[in-house]
Symmetry: C2
C-alpha cells in the first residue's frame, strides 16, 4: 500500500523547468541542495534524491546555464528522484521509452516527456524465441549455468539495438532517454532483470519478486542515459504479470464508477472485471486456436494474412480481405472467427460446428476421413496450395470460443452480475484490434451485447507503459490497481464443465442468450 | 528537516534476524516481497527497499537457509534499505567500517554490527599528501583535467588496501562489510566522492553538495560488499564539514540539557557551543603553532616526540616525557603547551612570553639576534642536534593561544553566557587527548575552569562515524544537528582585536580571570 497516497500531488509532466537564485555570501547553500530546494518547492515535497553522478556535473552545469535548468524527475514511492538535468536553452528533448516486453514480440515507443507526444515506435521479435518460442522452454533453459545470462543478453542487446535505431530515426540520442517503463509478464520480467524464474513454474509458483520497482538503466545494461530510471511494472503473481497491470491502467476500468470488463485474448484468455472500487481477475487456457499456429493455415497477423471473411448467404460466395491486400498466405485468429461466423450464418456449419456438406458448394474435400473446406484455391494463394480449414480446426475453435465464454460467465457469476450490466467491454491485443465483435458474438465467443459496448484497445500493455511516461499520477494508479486486485484461480469444477458444454454450440445451447444471431 | 522524525522507531542494531513463513499455494507472495513483508513488520515501517542484486540471489538463498536469515539494514531518510542477507546458521559477522577521512591522516575502525564491538582499527597517511599537504593545493590540483581523478584514486586505493589488511587481521572478508560511514571535512569529502571542490574556496564558497547522503560502495569503488551503503556525513558549508558533525554526535552536547562546548584544535580551531535546544559553531585560524611543523622542532605526535614537560620551579631542571619513551626527536602541540606553561610557572618566560635570561640557567643561546632555549641537548636527542625552542616559536604560540581564547570568549559572548556556566568542556582530536588542561589553563589558552570540566574525546570524528554503525537512532541525530546548528562567521572586528590583545599575555591581561594560575 502506498502510504499517504491520497495526499500525493503529482506534477503534470516528468519535466520541470526551475530557476534558482544564484549563490551569494548571504546564501551559500551548496549547488545540489540549492537545486533540490527549488524542486522541493516546485513539487511540494520534502525530499528530492540527486544521484552522485548528477552532483558531480552540477557545479559547472548550473553556472553555465545561469541557474535555469530543465529537470527530469521521477517518483519512487514517496520520494522524487532527479534523473536528468538539461540546459533550458537547448532544444534537446527529454525523452521517455515505453517497452511492451512480449514473449514473442517486443514493441517500443519513444515519447517526448515534456509535451507527451509520441516520437516514434518500432517492434522486433523477442530474440529469446531462438531458445524457445514457449516461455516454459526458456525458464528451463535459464536453469542451466549460462542459460539465464544468455537469455538476458539476447533481449537486452536487441532492445539496445532497436532503441538506437529508433532514436536515430527520431533524431535524438539514446542519452536523451531519461525514463523507461517496461510491461511484460512475470517470467519475461524476470529474464529481463536477469533473475532466475525457476520457481515461477514449480509449485507453489513463487516469483522472485512482485515489485521489482525502479532500477538504474546502467544497472541492467540498457543503453540510454545511465541515470535513467527503468520502471518495471509489478506483477500479481507468477501468472498475472505487469503487462496486464499496464493493460488495466490503459483501459481505465479501475477509474470508472460503472463496472466494465477487459479481455486480453491469446493462448491464455486474461480477464479483468471491475470498477473504481474493486477489480477481479482470472486467466484461463482459451486454447491456441485463436492465436494462429494450430490450423494448418493459421498464423499471426501479417501481410497476406486473411483477417476478414464474408460469405454471401445466398450464393455462398467468399469475399476475402488480407492484410495489406497481399495474395493470401494463411489466416489469423480474427479471420478464423469471421470465417466460422460467416459459415454458420450461411448454413455451411451447424450449431455443433460441423460442416453441412450440402451447403458447402463443392468446397469440401475428404482426406483421411476428415473434411477440409477450401477457403482459397491454390491458384489464388501465395503458397501455391489450397488454403483450407478442417473439421479438426473448427472443433478446436469451438473449444476455444466455449472456453472463452465460460471464463467470462464464471467471473461475472462470481461477483453476481450479468453481461448487460457491463458498461463497456474492452478487448486488448492485436487480436482485439482486428476482431469483428459481430462475428465473435455470432459464434458465441463474446456475449450478445450492443456492438458499441465493444472497444478495441490495441496494444494495451504498451499503452499503459507509455501512459506512465506522460501521466505522473498514473504511477499511483498502478499501486492502487495492484493492491486492489483479487486474483481468482479458475476452478475447473462440475459447474464450469457444465457451462463449458453448453457453450460448445454455436452460438450457445441457449440461443435466447444470443437474440441478435440469426442464421439463414 | 527529516519529516516525521519524531515518529521514527529505530531498531537497536542494523542487523535483524527474521524467520519467514515458507510459501504455499495459499500464500504465493514472491520471495522478495515475503522478506520485505517480514522486515516491515519487524521494523514497523511501510517499505523496505531491496536491491536487484539481492533479489537475484534470494530465491536460492531463502530455500537454502530454510527461510531464516540475518538481514543488514540501513536507513535512508524515511526508508529502510536491505544491504545484505546472511545465513542465520553461519557465524560470518556482518561488519561495518567507520572512516575518519582526515586531511593528513585517515583512521579506520572495523565493527561487528550485531554486537557493536570494535574488531580492529588502523590508520594511514592520506596519500593525497603527496600532491600537497595543504588542502588548498589539492583543490587547485583537482582543477586540472586528470587531477580530480588522480586525487580520488589515491585515497580510494589506499583505503581499499588498508581495509583489506585490517580485515585480514580481524579474520573477516571485505565482502562482509555491509555498511560504511565516512566523516571528513567538506573538501576531503568532495575528493572522496570525485566531486570537483573548485567552488569551495572561491567566493561565495559553495560546496557541490551539503548532503551527499548514501551511495553504494561499488558506485565509488570501495572494495567491500558491492551493495554496502556508504554514508557520508553531511556538511554545513565549505568550512564546516562532516568531521565536525561527527564530532558533535560523538560528544553528545546536542542531547544535553546543560550547555557545553566542544573544541577541536588544529590549524583551525573549531568550536561548537550548545545543548539539546540550540547549537552554535564557529571556526577560526588559531595559528599553526599547535599542530607542529612550525617550530623547528615541532611535529605531529609520534614515537620520540616530547608530549609532556615539567620543570622544577627551584632547580629549573627539565623532566621530559616522550611518546613510547623513545629518545627525543621533537615536540608536539601538547608538549609545547606544557613546556611554555612550565617555563612561565618557573619564571623562565614573562607574562608576554618573552624569555627571562636570568632564570634560564644557561640554556639560552643567541643566534642571529634571536634567543633559543635548549630543551634537549644534542647528546641526548635522536637527531644529534640540540632540540631548541626560539622566541619566534614562543611568540607564535602566544598568538595561537590568544586566538583560541578569543574565539572561545567571542562565541560565548554571542549567546551571552560565561565560562563557569559551561557544564562540560570537550576537547577533541589527538591534541585533546594529549593536552594537559592544567598547562593550557596556565598559559591562558583555555579558561580557568575546574579541571574535571575538561573531557578529552580522542578522535571524535571517528567516534561519531563508528557510533552510527552501532546506534541506528544516531542517524536521526545527525539530521537534527545539521538542521539545528547555526554557523557563525567569525567577525574579526575591533572588539575581537581588543580581546585578542588582552589575551596575548600569560595567562591574560586580567589575571583575575585565572585565579588558579600562580607563577613562582
Amino acid at each position: 500500500m502506498t502510504e499517504n497516497s491520497d495526499s500525493i500531488k503529482f506534477p503534470e509532466r516528468w519535466v520541470k523547468t526551475v530557476s534558482l537564485t544564484p549563490p551569494s555570501l548571504k546564501d551559500n547553500t551548496a549547488d545540489a541542495d540549492r537545486l533540490s530546494g527549488a524542486l522541493k518547492r516546485e513539487l511540494r515535497t520534502d525530499f528530492v534524491q540527486i544521484d552522485l553522478r548528477v552532483i558531480r556535473m552540477l557545479p559547472a552545469f548550473l553556472r553555465k546555464s545561469n541557474y535555469k535548468v530543465r529537470c527530469v524527475i521521477f517518483r519512487d514511492r514517496e520520494r522524487y528522484i532527479l534523473t536528468g538535468v538539461l540546459d533550458s536553452q537547448t532544444d534537446n528533448p527529454a525523452a521517455g521509452l515505453a517497452v511492451d516486453l512480449g514473449t514473442s514480440r517486443v514493441v517500443i515507443r519513444l515519447l517526448d516527456l515534456a509535451g507527451g507526444l509520441t516520437l516514434g515506435e518500432s517492434a522486433f521479435d523477442n530474440p529469446q524465441g531462438t531458445i524457445g518460442p514457449d516461455i516454459l522452454v526458456r525458464i528451463h533453459f535459464a536453469g542451466s549455468s549460462e542459460g539465464l545470462k544468455k537469455l538476458n543478453k539476447l533481449i537486452i542487446e536487441d532492445l539496445n539495438r532497436e532503441v538506437r535505431n529508433l532514436c536515430e530515426k527520431c533524431g535524438i540520442r539514446p542519452e536523451n532517454i531519461y525514463l523507461v517503463t517496461v510491461a511484460g509478464n512475470t517470467a519475461m520480467t524476470h529474464l529481463f532483470l536477469k533473475i532466475d524464474p525457476h520457481w515461477i513454474i514449480r509449485e507453489p509458483y513463487i516469483p522472485a519478486t512482485n515489485r521489482p520497482g525502479l532500477v538504474k538503466a546502467e544497472e541492467i545494461g540498457i543503453a540510454v542515459n545511465p541515470l535513467a530510471r527503468v520502471m518495471i511494472f509489478p506483477n500479481i503473481g507468477s501468472y498475472f504479470g505487469g503487462d496486464l497491470i499496464a493493460g488495466i491502467l490503459f483501459s481505465g476500468i479501475n477509474k470508472k464508477q460503472e463496472t466494465s470488463i477487459l479481455v486480453d485474448v491469446g493462448t491464455n484468455a486474461e480477464v479483468v472485471l471491475g470498477n473504481e472500487n474493486w477489480l477481479i481477475a482470472c486467466a484461463g487456457a482459451a486454447g491456441p486456436a485463436l492465436e494462429g499456429g494450430v490450423t494448418r493455415m493459421g498464423m499471426m497477423a501479417g501481410p497476406g494474412v486473411i483477417d476478414k471473411v464474408s460469405i454471401d448467404p445466398d450464393t455462398k460466395e467468399f469475399s476475402i480481405h488480407t492484410i495489406e491486400n497481399k495474395t493470401p498466405v494463411g489466416i489469423c485468429g480474427s479471420g478464423l472467427i469471421d470465417l466460422s461466423a460467416q459459415m454458420f450464418l450461411a448454413g455451411m456449419i451447424d450449431i455443433r460446428g460441423k460442416f453441412v456438406p450440402s451447403n458447402c458448394q463443392g468446397r469440401l474435400k475428404e482426406k483421411d476421413g476428415i473434411f477440409h473446406l477450401m477457403v482459397v484455391p491454390a491458384q489464388k494463394s501465395a503458397t501455391g496450395k489450397d488454403l483450407t480449414i478442417s473439421q479438426v480446426d473448427l472443433d478446436s475453435l469451438i473449444r476455444s470460443k466455449a472456453a472463452m465464454f465460460t471464463i467470462l460467465e464464471t467471473i461475472l457469476g462470481t461477483v453476481g452480475i450479468s453481461f448487460p450490466e457491463l458498461s463497456a467491454f474492452y478487448v486488448a491485443g492485436t487480436f482485439g484490434s482486428f476482431i469483428d465483435p459481430r462475428s465473435a458474438i455470432s459464434i458465441g465467443m463474446l456475449p450478445d451485447l450492443p456492438l458499441e459496448s465493444y472497444k478495441p484497445l490495441g496494444n494495451s500493455s504498451l499503452g499503459g507503459a507509455a501512459l506512465v511516461l506522460t501521466c505522473p499520477s498514473c504511477l499511483d494508479d498502478i499501486d492502487k490497481i495492484r493492491d486492489r486486485i483479487t486474483y481468482m484461480e479458475l476452478n475447473v469444477n462440475q459447474d464450469f464443465m457444465n457451462r463449458f458444454s453448453a457453450a460448445k454450440f454455436i452460438p450457445h445451447t441457449d440461443t435466447a442468450r444470443f437474440p441478435s444471431v440469426k442464421p439463414s
